[in-house]
């Protein structure tokens, strides 16, 4: 009893002293429950998909042999009832075991570890491009509200959110690779280039760490096209939101007050205007990341980028259930963590926001 009271008190004290830490811990605990929920939903969904994993994996010849099919199903536990399969899966999951990929014959976790860095490199580059260009364009458009720049930007963002990403990817490949040969077409590094020793798993950073300048240049040139293609729709999204947010901020007297102080224009824009618009921009950037993660499936496929997106694609067409589950869980957890980061950033940006 006393213990309970003490711990309640301790919790209250921790809350007032380290509100953000307590908030993060609580959300991380919730994340575990959430991950279980996600695993259940994706488990049921993947098993509802018509198609027989044994047939998809064994090939025509072997799948005509009942013994082979039975052996395959027994090996992956597919002969057991679905609830039992799920319980077994979760039991393994809690031990950090995501199962073995039917495609690569490696543990799914090992696959994740090797495929995640290329995706992270691609997605982060795309996000960086999208945020920098989007905020810059949104701010410029808002400052020239209804001027020619604003109108031009509006047309471009409309095109950006409307173009299907696969079509844009093919167009970009055609122009920059096939037609003019300015940029390499597919892959992460040219086949002739020796990959740098793996430290972070990012080809660009690892090549810099190894001091291999030419490898770095090659990695960057391979990164540009897929990153720009991936960034295009979310750049438009961020531009529109940033423009709207800045317009709303500009109507406030505190912007006039900052100008009336005679502060340099960049101070007024960065410290006063953008600062106030940042909450909205971060909200949309969080959404944009989800968009980018979905986009990686198509973009990695088209650009032969060895990441989670391509892994998920291959798993899906082969009905490689453990891998599909692994990729789904991975993306879901990344997305949830992004939301957590966004929520924490709110409180850092805006002193009026309180953590609940």
């Amino acid at each position: 009893m006393t213990m309970a009271i003490l711990s309640v008190r301790a919790l209250k004290r921790a809350r007032t002293r380290h509100p953000i830490a307590v908030f993060v811990i609580r959300r991380l605990l919730a994340l575990v429950a959430l991950a279980l929920g996600i695993s259940l939903v994706s488990f049921v969904l993947t098993h509802l998909v018509p198609g027989n994993p044994a047939v998809a994996n064994l090939g025509q010849q072997a799948s005509n042999d009942p013994a082979a099919v039975h052996a395959f199903e027994a090996r992956y536990g597919l002969d057991k009832p679905l609830p039992e399969q799920y319980v077994i899966y979760v039991g393994h999951l809690l031990h950090g075991d995501l199962g073995v990929s039917e495609q690569t014959q490696r543990p799914v976790l090992t696959d994740m570890v090797s495929y995640a860095p290329p995706t992270a490199e691609l997605a982060l580059t795309a996000m960086f491009i999208a945020v920098v260009v989007g905020v810059g364009l949104g701010l410029s458009a808002a400052l020239r509200h209804n001027g020619w720049l604003d109108r031009t930007v509006r047309i471009f963002t409309l095109v950006g959110v409307s173009i299907p990403i696969f079509w844009f990817a093919l167009l970009a490949l055609y122009i920059f690779y096939l037609r003019f040969g300015i940029l390499p077409g597919v892959g992460r590094l040219a086949p002739t280039v020796q990959p740098p020793p793996t430290v972070t798993g990012f080809a660009t950073i690892d090549s810099l760490l190894a001091g291999q300048w030419s490898t770095f240049v090659d990695a960057v040139s391979h990164l540009i096209l897929p990153a720009v293609v991936l960034a295009a729709p979310v750049t438009s999204l961020i531009t529109r939101f940033a423009r709207a947010a800045v317009l709303e901020v500009l109507g406030n007297d505190y912007v006039n007050a900052a100008r009336a102080k005679g502060l340099p224009t960049h101070t007024v824009l960065l410290r006063h205007v953008l600062r106030a618009a940042l909450s909205s921009i971060i909200t949309v950037a969080g959404l944009a990341l989800a968009n980018v993660l979905t986009g990686t499936v198509l973009v990695e496929r088209i650009f032969s980028w060895p990441g989670i997106g391509q892994y998920a694609y291959n798993s899906a067409i082969n009905l490689d259930l453990p891998s599909i589950m692994g990729a789904t869980l991975f993306v879901a957890i990344v997305y949830t963590l992004t939301n957590l980061v966004v929520d924490v950033l709110y409180t850092v940006i805006d002193p009026r926001v309180r953590l609940a």
Binding site: Y254, G262, L263, P264, R275, P351
Partner: protein, 326 residues
């Protein structure tokens, strides 16, 4: 002696290129060192736009014409660095709405010191010391804690006083105060007015006091300029305002004031509403609401003419010549 600030035929037009709307027209006045000039009028009469034009911070889609002479320069023609050396440094402004005039995400300390450091070239410690003194002057309790706090942690009255402290930080020559006391309790109002009065006397601060509250004006101002629909309709010394006013609009504005002595007629509201800038009536803009209007009032804009020592009126009728219907 040349005036500290001289406004000559100031005009403000919104969207001059596409759908021009005249917001302020032909506004001229001067301000001397240590003088408090009241700028009175209903909402929408162009007071705030006049102030923004003087400050050089009109909204992007409006343009000012005429001249604002200050320190041998025309503020309206200044751009960039030359303009910024006047803004906040020599002419400062207090905004009307204290809930939106302070940046919600920056500390009071940051907002008080950023322009001091920029204009006066002093370091963080000196600027913070000065900020503490200023907060103390405007009677903010516990200035030290206030520097680290954010605007939402203060009441409206305190925010307004913080705004005044920010405006005074670089010791400007001219303070433009847009309804500085409207959001305040009467007791705090008196404190703010006393503070401004003291600064004017001790430091020769010139104050352009924008308000629709004629009681505040008569307490502090030396002269009054009354605006209606973007134009000056009457300007006179404040002591002539109550007894010697000539323009029906000024009279109407005075009659709509509550009088604590409770003698005389009850409050008389002004019938109708001020015209929108896009649809101002021809001739004298007040004529549709004026009790004394004659046909001629609707045909031409009556000029502002001198009718006595330092007293101008834009009403040619003089309807109160015989003492008038009070």
């Amino acid at each position: 002696m040349t005036a500290l600030l001289e406004v000559r035929r100031l005009g403000v037009t919104a969207r001059p290129d596409t759908a021009p709307v005249t917001i302020v027209e032909d506004v001229s006045f001067t301000m001397e060192r240590g003088e408090v000039l009241g700028l009175a009028g209903e909402s929408g009469s162009g007071k705030t736009m006049t102030a923004l034009a003087l400050m050089g911070i009109l909204p992007a889609q409006s343009r000012a014409t005429g001249e604002v002479r200050f320190a041998d320069e025309d503020v309206l023609k200044l751009r960039g660095r030359a303009l910024r050396q006047i803004q906040g440094r020599r002419i400062a402004m207090v905004f009307q709405d204290p809930s939106s005039a302070l940046h919600p995400m920056l500390t009071i300390g940051r907002q008080m010191t950023e322009h001091m450091r920029h204009h006066l070239g002093i370091d963080r410690r000196d600027s913070e010391q000065r900020a503490l003194d200023l907060l103390d002057q405007v009677r903010i309790p516990d200035p030290k804690a206030a520097l680290k706090a954010f605007p939402h942690q203060f009441s409206g009255g305190m925010r307004q006083r913080i705004q005044i402290a920010i405006a005074l930080a670089c010791e400007p020559d001219v303070l433009i105060a847009d309804e500085p006391t409207t959001a305040l309790d009467v007791t705090i109002q008196a404190g703010v007015l006393r503070l401004l009065d003291g600064l004017r006397r001790d430091r020769g601060l010139a104050v352009l006091l924008i308000t629709h509250d004629l009681a505040v004006l008569s307490a502090l101002a030396d002269r009054v300029v009354v605006m209606y629909a973007g134009r000056i309709v009457e300007s006179c010394a404040v002591k002539e305002l109550a007894t010697g006013n000539r323009h029906p609009y000024t009279r109407a504005l005075l009659s709509s004031l509550p009088r604590p002595d409770a003698r005389g007629p009850a409050l008389v509201p002004i019938g109708g509403t001020p015209p929108s800038p896009a649809a101002r009536p021809p001739g004298c803009a007040f004529n549709p609401r004026c009790d004394f209007a004659v046909d001629a009032c609707a045909s031409a804009v009556p000029p502002l003419v001198e009718i006595g020592q330092g007293h101008h009126s834009a009403c040619p009728l003089d309807p109160f010549a015989d003492g008038g219907p009070r």
